[in-house]
Structures are given as structure tokens and as C-alpha cells.
């Protein structure tokens, strides 16, 4: 596109952060603005082209290459500056100050600063200068991924601290690279906010099946080792040796810039249904933002927010609002199918649960219904209905009266219409509407071959698929039946 996007009249939008939320927003704005009325500048602290963070666990697992995870960026229609961190916001002058001293003016500012890994204050995690000790890793950025993948080359044993989604995906990826992996999890079961106890137990068994040791109710109290980390000590006193220790204990919204600028910050940057912060010219979205409708940390919500915000920025009269997102967690781990959504541990009388549990086959399926609507689900063991259930949950639609159809595919009440006990009125040749009864009648009347039947009934003369069935049918009829 060649529309002049630097025209003075253009509305200047500056996006701080070129992660999944920021890059998506830039793209959504440009697509809605073919005439270049909005001038977008995106500043990314990481030096890399925007990439799909969600896919990093696949890169770690080796099932995808770095080349496979770029995000579309509107280079031609927006100014994209990478490796540029923002140091401060000058709200009075309406400009952001970058760490290289540049001032970038805005009419609208969007904070998409993401989140930082939480590292629990465990003894031995950090070196004296506050950095991570050699052998200790976090897993958030492409650089983290590269460092961990490189270290994994020479490592044999790894302990992953934290059995949430990211920790479990990283653990699976590392196990797939041939490492001995142990997952430590503080809560009594894995993914304790997304699963119930039974589901968590079966997930643990599924992880053990792929060679990953999982310790629950296990708190890491110390990272052992002289210079490099060489193990993790549990609160039980047990020490688990490890060449690598990966902390995956959740994320904390990156709010420093917002807080320093005097914006209202609680856990994250507080935003309303227009994704507006306490400064009307400043918005926030994605992991750094705090909106009552979403817990954060899920990509779908960030992208939904990007769509809404792009709409609001390009069309100030728009009445579109962000009211929250359905939270669905889909584990990306080879040979382990898991999707979990909504409430799975309801504690009220109105909720009804439907559960199928087969621990032997590592299958656990649970639906939680309230007022005939699906409000939560766990599907572990196969994904045959995961799309169906997720969509029902997303739409908040009324569930079918018999929820079995949401648990298993291919459950059919109807009789099999191809067996030997076919009723006379059953259609054998669909192309020409020929029933079993008609075939028997004509056979009885003397048409004893496929061709003879085709001449009289046209059976088998369309797609030809039923010829085998007709042949089997007449083979079962007595050959010596007298012609009527």
C-alpha cells in the first residue's frame, strides 16, 4: 500500500510492545484503515521480529522451527521499531521516551507490555548480582527458548518447577528431546485452577506414561549446586538432581511503566470496557492489562481485545466494547490431549456435572452444566469432541438434552443400515431409490444377476457404490428359488 501514512493530519497511535497483543493490534488497525487516517508506530523491546509466543513450546519441543512462528506485521503501513524499550511516558507532552533517548509523540497510546515470569524466592535461584544462576531458566521469550534449547543439548536431567499449562508444555517438549524430566507442583493436582482433582490425577498418569515424573504437593525450597544449579531440594528434604531447572510459576503483568506514569495499577493496568486506563488517551491490552472479564494470560482474550481496540481507534463512534473472554485452555503436548474451560469445580446446587472417567485409558471427560448451558468442561484423553464442546462453551448456547453426544463422537441411536437384517423398505441403491424389497421381488421374478436387476430396477447404475451390497444380498437369497 502506498497511502502516505505520515501525513500530518493522521491520528498518531503509539503501541508499546510488539508481542502478540501489540502486533495483532497494529495489524487490525491497518486493515480497518485503508486510507491511512491513523499512523501507527509500534515499539518492541525485544530485538526479534514479532513472533508467536504461543508456539514457543513447539519450538522447544523441536516440532516447529523459529521460521515457522512469525507474526504478520504491517511493515509497509506502520512504523515498526524493534529492540527499542520505552523508559517513560510523558503524559503532559503526550510522548513516550525510549531508552535511546528518543521522544515519540502520540495522540493515542497503547500499552501492550505483556508479562514477566514470576520467580519464587527460593534459596539459590539467583546469583549475588540478582541474575539467574547458571542452569536456572525461565520460559517466556524467544531468547529464553533459545537459551533453554541450547542448554538442553548438553543436559540429561531437568526439573520443571510449576505444573501449569506452560510448565507442562515445556516439560513435554524437553522430554520429547530425550531428557529425563521431573515436574514439581505445589498444589495437590496439576493445573489446579483448570482441572478438578480426578482430572489432575489422570493427567499426571498420562504424563508418567510419556516418561515424565510428576510430584504434586511438592514445594521447591532450594536450588542446590556450587556454581551451576545441580538439583532442587523439596520441602520434604528430598533432593532431585538436575542439570537444568526451569521455573514456570506463572506470570506477573508488566506494569512498571504504567505505574511510574501514575496510571492506576492493581495486579495489572486497570482498564474499562473500552480498554482505557485511568488516562483517557492511554489504553492497555493483553497480559499487562487487568479487566474484570478475564483472568489474563490467555491469547484469545488478547486478540479479542485487539479487535475491539482497533475498532474503537479507527472508528471513534463505535459502540463496540470488550466485556470479557471465555477461557479455554488447550494443552499443546504430544500424545496428551487436554482441553479445559470454565468452571470445573462448581460448588453450588444449580450446577450439574456429567463425568466419564476411565483412569486405565487415561481418559477423563467432565461437563458442568447450569441452567442447561455448559459452563465448564474437561476433556482429557482424546480430542474427538473438543471442538464441539469448546464452541458450545464459547457461544454460551443451550446444551443438548442428552450430553453424551458432547463426550463421544459417533454415538448413533439409529440402526446400522447395511447389515444382513435389512428391512424390506431400506434403500439399497440411493442413486435410483431401489429398496431391498424391490430387489428381492425382482430376484424372485427371475432377475438373478446384477445386470438383470440393473435392467429392471436401475440398481447400481448411478455411482455404482451399492453393487457389492446388491451382490451380497442376492447371494443370500436361495439360488434355486423358482421364478415366480
Amino acid at each position: 500500500m502506498s497511502a502516505p501514512r505520515t501525513a500530518r493530519a493522521a491520528h498518531r497511535v503509539v503501541i508499546v510492545g510488539a508481542g502478540m497483543a501489540g502486533a495483532r493490534l497494529a495489524e487490525e488497525i491497518v486493515q480497518r484503515d485503508p486510507d491511512g487516517r491513523v499512523h501507527v508506530t509500534m515499539l518492541g523491546a525485544e530485538p526479534h521480529r514479532p513472533y508467536n509466543r504461543v508456539q514457543l513450546t513447539n519450538v522447544l519441543a523441536g516440532s516447529m522451527a523459529e521460521d515457522d512462528i512469525p507474526l504478520p506485521v504491517p511493515d509497509e503501513d506502520a512504523v515498526v521499531r524493534l529492540g527499542v524499550a520505552v523508559r517513560a511516558i510523558d503524559r503532559d507532552r503526550r510522548q513516550v521516551i525510549t531508552d535511546d533517548g528518543d521522544a515519540v509523540g502520540y495522540d493515542t497510546l497503547v500499552l501492550a507490555t505483556g508479562a514477566d515470569p514470576l520467580i519464587p524466592p527460593v534459596r539459590g535461584v539467583r546469583t549475588a548480582d540478582g541474575g539467574l544462576r547458571p542452569g536456572v531458566f525461565v520460559f517466556r521469550t524467544l531468547d529464553d527458548c533459545r537459551a533453554l534449547a541450547a542448554a538442553a543439548e548438553a543436559a540429561r536431567r531437568v526439573v520443571v518447577v510449576g505444573g501449569g499449562v506452560l510448565g507442562l508444555e515445556a516439560a513435554r517438549g524437553l522430554a520429547g528431546r530425550g531428557l529425563d524430566v521431573c515436574v514439581l507442583h505445589m498444589a495437590p493436582w496439576l493445573m489446579e485452577t483448570r482441572l478438578d482433582a480426578e482430572g489432575g490425577k489422570i493427567l499426571r498418569a498420562a504424563y508418567r506414561d510419556v516418561g515424565i515424573d510428576v510430584r504434586v504437593d511438592a514445594t521447591a525450597t532450594e536450588v542446590s549446586g556450587v556454581d551451576r544449579a545441580d538439583g532442587v531440594v523439596l520441602d520434604s528434604g528430598e533432593r532431585i538432581p538436575a542439570d537444568l531447572v526451569v521455573f514456570s510459576c506463572g506470570m506477573r503483568p508488566s506494569t512498571r511503566l504504567a505505574a511510574d506514569s501514575g496510571l492506576r495499577v492493581e495486579r495489572g493496568i486497570v482498564v474499562d470496557d473500552e480498554l482505557r486506563t485511568s488516562d483517557p488517551r492511554i489504553f492497555a491490552l493483553g497480559d499487562c492489562a487487568q479487566h474484570p472479564g478475564v483472568a489474563g494470560g490467555l491469547l484469545d482474550s488478547a486478540w479479542e481485545q485487539a479487535t475491539v481496540l482497533a475498532e474503537l481507534i479507527t472508528d471513534p463512534g463505535s459502540t463496540t466494547r470488550y466485556t470479557g473472554s471465555a477461557e479455554v485452555t488447550r494443552l499443546k503436548a504430544a500424545d496428551v490431549d487436554l482441553v479445559a474451560m470454565g468452571e470445573v469445580n462448581p460448588d453450588d446446587e444449580q450446577a450439574a456435572s456429567v463425568v466419564f472417567s476411565d483412569a486405565r485409558r487415561r481418559t477423563y471427560k467432565k461437563l458442568v452444566l447450569r441452567d442447561e448451558r455448559l459452563v465448564g468442561a474437561v476433556l482429557l484423553g482424546d480430542d474427538e469432541t473438543s471442538g464441539l464442546v469448546t464452541q458450545l462453551f464459547d457461544r454460551g448456547a443451550v446444551a443438548p438434552p442428552d450430553p453424551k453426544v458432547l463426550l463421544f463422537r459417533g454415538l448413533r441411536q439409529g440402526a446400522d443400515d447395511s447389515g444382513p437384517d435389512l428391512p424390506d423398505e431400506a434403500t439399497v441403491c440411493r442413486c435410483n431409490g431401489v429398496t431391498r424389497g424391490e430387489i428381492v421381488r425382482e430376484y424372485t421374478a427371475g432377475a438373478r444377476t446384477l445386470d438383470a436387476l440393473a435392467d429392471r430396477l436401475r440398481s447400481g447404475t448411478g455411482c455404482g457404490s451399492c453393487r457389492g451390497q446388491v451382490a451380497a444380498l442376492i447371494a443370500d437369497l436361495p439360488a434355486d428359488m423358482p421364478a415366480a
Binding site: 480430542d383 474427538e384 471442538g387 458450545l392 464459547d394 443451550v398 439409529g414 440411493r430 442413486c431
Partner: protein, 711 residues
């Protein structure tokens, strides 16, 4: 098929052993002869004295004089564009060609389009853009039998075109069939893998399949580098379509997405892999982008132009291919030329003996044309041939109202179709077995259709009608009623165009040997023949001699683009024009059943077919029916924002829980198209026939409910 006279004077149908159908016919074919002698057949022109008077038999002269006088009066008062022409994809090549010429030369109106706009336009636009030329299958249909894996997208051929199934992988053989369809259709039931996609999300699924093919290293990088452009951008775009996200959009489980891609790659290694789309994927307001997404997939896998592999789109009407090549489309001139291309205009004007400046420009697309009828600035009169708009147009009730708002409507048809009933003049036309002509099938193979019987007394062919009318409109020359003469002219007009027929001779067609376009005539022959007529215009367009059989397989060495490379295109998922909500909580999808065809104006008049499928039904899952309190056989109203139709409940466990299906073959208050959404694709102007939001209500049985109503 062939017709054989019976002793009782009737006709029997005999299947012909032809590669496309392998000698097979479904019941629509077997019973087709019944239409020739249908008691409903029109044998005399009908005319009404005023808009409120009844239709009454009149002589041909009276009818044609009236038509010519009205068209002339209206054009004199309102300009040439005040008369519109609407054609059909079932017309022969000759009729389609002549209809386009009649509009541009005799009427000099820009306003001509046809029902193929509702059929093939999305595939046509997408494939032209990607591969440079739009031929449904760029390979003979028999090549499909070589493919190790076939992916069908939104194609229920087991019902719509049963003999086609003979080419597909069958259960138990060592080939694999993958079907993408929101219903476990008859075709899907015999597939090795059925992806029961959420209606309106095929595009996201295609992008997701490409994502997996890239991630799993199954793309053909050499092919991409040597034969295509634009892959880098597409690769970045589909990076955002990872399987888990696509599962949430499309409802297709991750494991099935992966299986589909792996099977395609495995098939490619065992003879070939083919990706074939049809209306299920195309009749959407994002139909062009959806087809583009599947072409992207096929290109990344290195399929088009490889033996036993490729991309194709399955045509839906008898002459769905030829009908879109010769100028009854608003933006098109014969030979699949663009009407806004000065060289194309010069060439065709030369053949037609008119000044290129006198040729009108592009006109309105089908739905936009219908929507404009009788409005200020819109056409005041229309000539319809081979189309039953009142049943087949989206938002049919509005289309019907627009037809009624015309000052003058003339319809040429075999029977008094629902559209003909609205006309001021109805002209009884000859049909398939009663006239000569050529058709072009889904492979781009040109076929001769022979006259087997004489039309009933009183009936004329469309070519005769156009010749008679042209003469009355002051064009005594240039509108031959003889199909052979028209075909000869069509060949010249198509010369040098993408769909070049110039080298196709009567002898070639009569020999029975396959003849495919493009089939350009030898450079020297053509230059000698046409130099005087055309001057230098043609010189650059003529190609080297090619074999007499034309080009059975396109793209072996190059694509028909300017640089010979196929084009990838970045396409993004977007929701259907209308999403479900609390008021309209169900997705309606539409389609065909085996025993009926299109608007049903032919098949509903054949006893056997009428008895097999007597009326409209709506198919829903038993669980949905139980929740809504409906039983099998119950009559219900299917209600959308645009209107309501009634239908009988049919239960099926083969349909998604959130979706209902309704076929579109029946008239009046049972028209599915009373409900459908006319949202148009921005490029092809294809309406979104395939998906809209509805609710079901019990039918109380009042007379009002049984009449077509608008919301």
C-alpha cells in the same frame, strides 16, 4: 446419455459409456426423458394484456411484436440499460454466447448476468487470480482415479452428481477420501476421514491445514520456489492459524486436522493428491478467499500441474463451465475475456462488426441486478432465459417483489416456472434433446449435444427467439438461428482468449475424441481467415499450433499468469455475514438432495422424482429436535431476519447439533431462499447462500403461514 424411441412413441434413456460418468446415471438422468413429453410443457406463447390480466395464449408474432415494442419503448424512454438480460448455466455454449451478444449488440445494455453468478463465480475469481485461468478441472476427470488421496471441500457428489463417485476413493480400496462438510453427508459417510467443520469456517480450516503442512515439513519447497510467488507472506499469515486455535474456530479436532494433512501428503507420494472444492465452500460472502486458501494449500503441497494431482472446482449445472465462458456474465466477453480489457473489446467488436466504443461496459452482478429492478435508475424490463430466479435467488421474496416492480418481464422457458408465472410474455422454448448445440463440461471438454427429437409444435429454440427479436429490434444480421453457424462465430470470437475454442472443428466434435480448451487454431489459418476482418488486433494474440485435442491438462509447465507462476494470496478468516445470537440461535445451511435439481422446475415435474422428494424439509439432530420439542414429520417454520419458509422436520444424527439443513428445490412458501442471506462476496458478488442465522418455530397451520412472508 442417449434416447431410444419406444414402440409406444415414448423415449427411453440409455446411459452412454462416457469417461465422466463411467456409464452411470442417477434417477434424475434415467427419468429425464419424461420432461420432453410433460403435460406441463408450454407449446404456445402466453401474454397478459396488462400487469393484472391473466396470461393467455397468443401467436408467436403477437408475442414477439409485443416484446420488441415494449423493450424499444422502455429503452427510448430510459436508455439502453433500462432493459436487462438474465441467463443460465444450463444454456448451451451457443445460447450463452448469443444471449451475451444480443444484450451488447441488439439491446446495447450493460445489464446482463446469469445464475452462474450464484454458482461458480467465487471459484472462478479465485482460480483465475491464483492460476491465471479458470477451468473447473484443469485435468480430465479420469485423472482423479490416479490420486492416492482426494480432499473434497463442501461437495456432496454422492447426491448431486452420483456417477462422479466412481472416480473417488472408495471404502476398502487403498486410496483415501477426505471430506470437509458440516453434515456427515452421503459422500462423507464413505470417506476415510470426515472433518465436520462449523459452517462458514472453511477458510480458517484451510489456513490451519497449511500451517500444519509447514510445521510438519510436508510442503514442497522446490515447487514453491520454481513455480509460485507470494509464499513468504502466506507463511507468515498462516503462522497465526495453529491447530488448537483452528480447532476452536472450526470445531475440527486437532488430531483430525493433522490426519488430513498427513493423508494428503501420503497420497501425493502414492499417485497424487487432489483438492476439489464445490458450492459448500464457495457460496459465502468470503467464497473467493476460501477457495484461495485451498489453492494456497494445494500450491504449498506442490499439486497443481502434477500428474494425478491438482486443484479443481466441481461445476454445478449442466453447462456450468461453458456457460461462464462466452459472455452472459456482466463483466465478460466470449472466450473468457474481460469486458473492460480494450484488446478484448476490439477483438470481439471486430467479430461482431460493431465499433468497440459501442460495446457497453461491465454491468451489475446477478443479485445487485435483481435488487435494482424497477428501482429509480434500475432496469425497467428484463428478458430471462434458462433461470428460475423467483426460487433460486437469495432473499427470494425481495427478488420476487423486484420482478413484480418491472414494467415488463419476458421469460423463455419449457414450463410455466415460478418466474414465468410473473412474466408479461412467456415464450415456450425447446429443451435439451430437441436442439443441437455444444456444452463444455467440468473438465473443459467440449461436447456436442445432438437433437434426438423434434420440439413439440409451437415451440421454438432460444436461438430462433433471439434471431426473431433481434430482427424486430433492427438487427436483421448477426443473429443466426442455426447452432452450427453460431458455434463457428463463437470460435472466432473466442480466438486468443483464455477459453480459446478457435481450433475446434465439427469433425473433431463428431469424432467423439476428447477435445479440451484452450484449443487455438493454427496461427496461419487464423491469420488468413481473419486478417481482413480484424486487422492487426489479433496478431499478437495468436499462439503456436497445438494438438487437435486441445489441452487436457493445464499447468504442466507454466501457469496462465503473466510470469507463468501461480500466485499465493494472504487470506484471513472472518465470521459469516450473520452470526447466531439469542434470537436466531441456529445456523442454517442449504444444499441439494439426490432426486431434485436446482429450483426444481424440471425435476418437480417428473413423477418418480416428485414422489421421492415431494416437499421441503429441514434436517436437524434428534437432540436438537428434542430440546426444541419437535418430532419427525412435524411442520415447522424456519425463520430468519429476511423471512420464513415452512418445511417438515427430518431427523438425522449426521448433522451438527447447532446446525440445520434445508434443500432449496421447492417453490412458494417452501423456498429455502426466502430465508437465505444476500450478503455478497466483495470480489465475485456471490451471495451467502450457504449460511445464515435462523430459529425454528412450530407451524400453527394458518393460511398466512403457508404464504411466503417477509420479515
Amino acid at each position: 446419455m442417449t434416447l431410444r424411441p419406444r414402440r409406444d412413441g415414448g423415449l427411453d434413456v440409455e446411459p452412454r459409456d462416457f469417461p465422466v460418468n463411467g456409464g452411470g446415471l442417477c434417477r434424475k438422468g434415467w427419468t429425464a426423458a419424461e420432461l420432453l413429453s410433460s403435460p406441463d410443457r408450454l407449446t404456445t406463447p402466453l401474454m397478459r394484456a396488462s400487469r393484472t390480466a391473466p396470461l393467455e395464449p397468443v401467436s408467436w408474432d403477437a408475442a414477439l411484436d409485443r416484446v420488441a415494442a415494449e423493450l424499444r419503448r422502455i429503452q427510448d424512454a430510459h436508455g439502453p440499460d433500462a432493459v436487462a438480460v438474465f441467463g443460465g448455466g444450463g444454456l448451451t455454449n451457443e445460447k450463452a454466447y448469443q444471449l451475451g451478444k444480443f444484450a451488447r449488440v441488439a439491446l446495447r445494455t450493460a445489464n446482463i448476468d446469469y445464475n452462474g453468478r450464484f454458482c461458480m463465480s467465487s471459484a472462478a475469481a479465485a482460480v483465475s487470480g491464483a492460476l491465471g485461468v479458470d477451468r473447473g478441472l484443469p485435468f480430465p476427470v479420469t485423472d482423479i482415479a490416479q490420486a492416492g488421496t482426494v480432499l473434497l471441500v463442501g461437495a456432496n457428489v454422492a447426491e448431486t452428481m452420483p456417477p462422479f463417485v466412481r472416480h473417488l476413493p472408495r471404502p476398502g480400496d487403498d486410496r483415501e477420501l477426505i471430506v470437509i462438510d458440516p453434515r456427515r453427508s452421503q459422500t462423507a459417510r464413505d470417506a476415510d476421514l470426515h472433518l465436520q467443520v462449523t459452517p462458514g469456517t472453511d477458510l480458517a480450516l484451510a489456513n490451519g491445514l497449511l500451517h500444519i503442512a509447514i510445521a510438519e515439513g510436508l510442503i514442497d519447497s522446490e515447487y514453491i520456489a520454481a513455480r509460485t510467488t507470494g509464499f513468504a507472506e502466506v507463511r507468515r499469515n498462516v503462522a497465526a492459524y495453529w491447530p488448537e486455535r483452528v480447532e476452536r474456530i472450526t470445531g475440527v479436532p486437532v488430531s483430525e486436522q493433522r490426519a488430513a494433512v498427513r493423508r494428503l501428503a501420503a497420497g501425493r507420494a502414492r499417485g497424487g493428491a487432489m483438492v476439489l472444492t464445490a458450492r459448500g465452500a464457495e457460496q459465502h460472502s468470503k467464497g473467493v478467499d476460501t477457495v484461495r486458501a485451498f489453492v494456497n494449500l494445494a500450491l504449498a503441497l506442490g499439486l497443481p500441474g502434477r500428474p494425478g494431482s491438482g486443484f479443481g472446482s466441481i461445476t454445478g449445472q449442466g453447462n456450468g463451465q461453458g456457460g461462464r465462458e462466452h459472455g452472459q456474465k456482466a463483466d465478460q466477453l466470449p472466450g473468457y475475456r474481460r469486458i473492460d480489457d480494450p484488446r478484448a473489446r476490439a477483438h470481439v467488436a471486430g467479430v461482431w462488426g460493431v465499433d468497440p466504443a459501442d460495446l457497453p461496459g461491465p454491468g451489475r452482478s446477478a443479485y445487485e441486478l435483481l435488487e435494482s429492478l424497477g428501482t429509480p435508475g434500475g432496469p425497467k424490463a428484463m428478458f430471462v432465459a434458462g433461470s428460475n430466479i423467483a426460487v433460486s435467488a437469495p432473499r427470494a421474496e425481495l427478488a420476487e417483489r423486484r420482478l413484480a416492480a418491472l414494467d415488463f418481464l419476458v421469460v423463455s422457458d419449457l414450463v410455466l416456472s415460478e418466474t414465468a408465472k410473473l412474466a408479461d410474455v412467456v415464450l415456450p422454448a425447446a429443451q435439451w434433446a430437441e436442439e443441437e448445440g455444444t456444452m463444455t463440461n467440468l473438465e473443459g471438454r467440449v461436447l456436442r449435444r445432438r437433437r434426438a427429437v423434434a420440439p413439440p409444435p409451437g415451440v421454438r429454440t432460444d436461438l430462433e427467439i433471439l434471431a426473431d427479436l433481434a430482427r424486430r429490434l433492427g438487427r436483421p444480421d448477426g443473429f443466426d438461428a442455426d447452432p452450427a453457424a453460431v458455434f463457428a462465430e463463437l470460435r472466432r470470437a473466442s480466438a486468443g482468449g483464455p477459453a480459446d475454442y478457435s481450433g475446434i472443428t465439427d469433425e473433431m466434435l463428431d469424432s467423439g475424441a476428447p477435445v479440451y480448451w484452450p484449443n487455438p487454431r493454427g496461427r496461419d489459418d487464423l491469420r488468413d481467415d481473419l486478417r481482413d476482418e480484424l486487422g492487426d488486433v489479433l496478431r499478437d494474440e495468436l499462439r503456436e499450433d497445438e494438438p487437435a485435442g486441445g489441452t487436457p491438462r493445464l499447468f504442466a509447465d507454466r501457469f496462465a499468469t503473466s510470469d507463468g507462476r501461480a500466485r499465493f494470496a494472504v487470506v484471513r478468516h472472518r465470521p459469516a455475514a450473520e452470526s447466531v445470537d439469542e434470537e436466531f440461535p441456529l445456523q442454517l445451511i442449504t444444499g441439494r438432495v439426490l432426486a431434485q435439481y436446482q429450483s426444481g422446475s424440471q425435476t418437480r415435474r417428473i413423477r418418480e422424482l416428485r414422489e421421492a422428494e415431494p416437499g421441503a424439509f429441514v434436517e436437524l439432530h434428534p437432540q436438537l429436535a428434542e430440546r426444541l420439542g419437535f418430532a419427525a414429520g412435524q411442520r415447522v417454520r424456519v425463520v430468519s431476519r429476511r423471512g420464513a419458509a415452512w418445511a417438515e422436520v427430518r431427523l438425522s444424527e449426521e448433522i451438527r447439533l447447532d446446525t440445520v439443513f434445508m434443500p432449496f428445490h421447492w417453490p412458494g412458501a417452501q423456498r429455502a431462499n426466502l430465508v437465505t442471506n444476500p450478503a455478497l462476496d466483495p470480489v465475485s458478488r456471490m451471495p451467502e447462500f450457504k449460511i445464515c442465522a435462523v430459529r425454528l418455530e412450530p407451524l400453527l397451520g394458518t393460511a398466512d403461514e403457508l404464504r411466503p412472508v417477509a420479515a
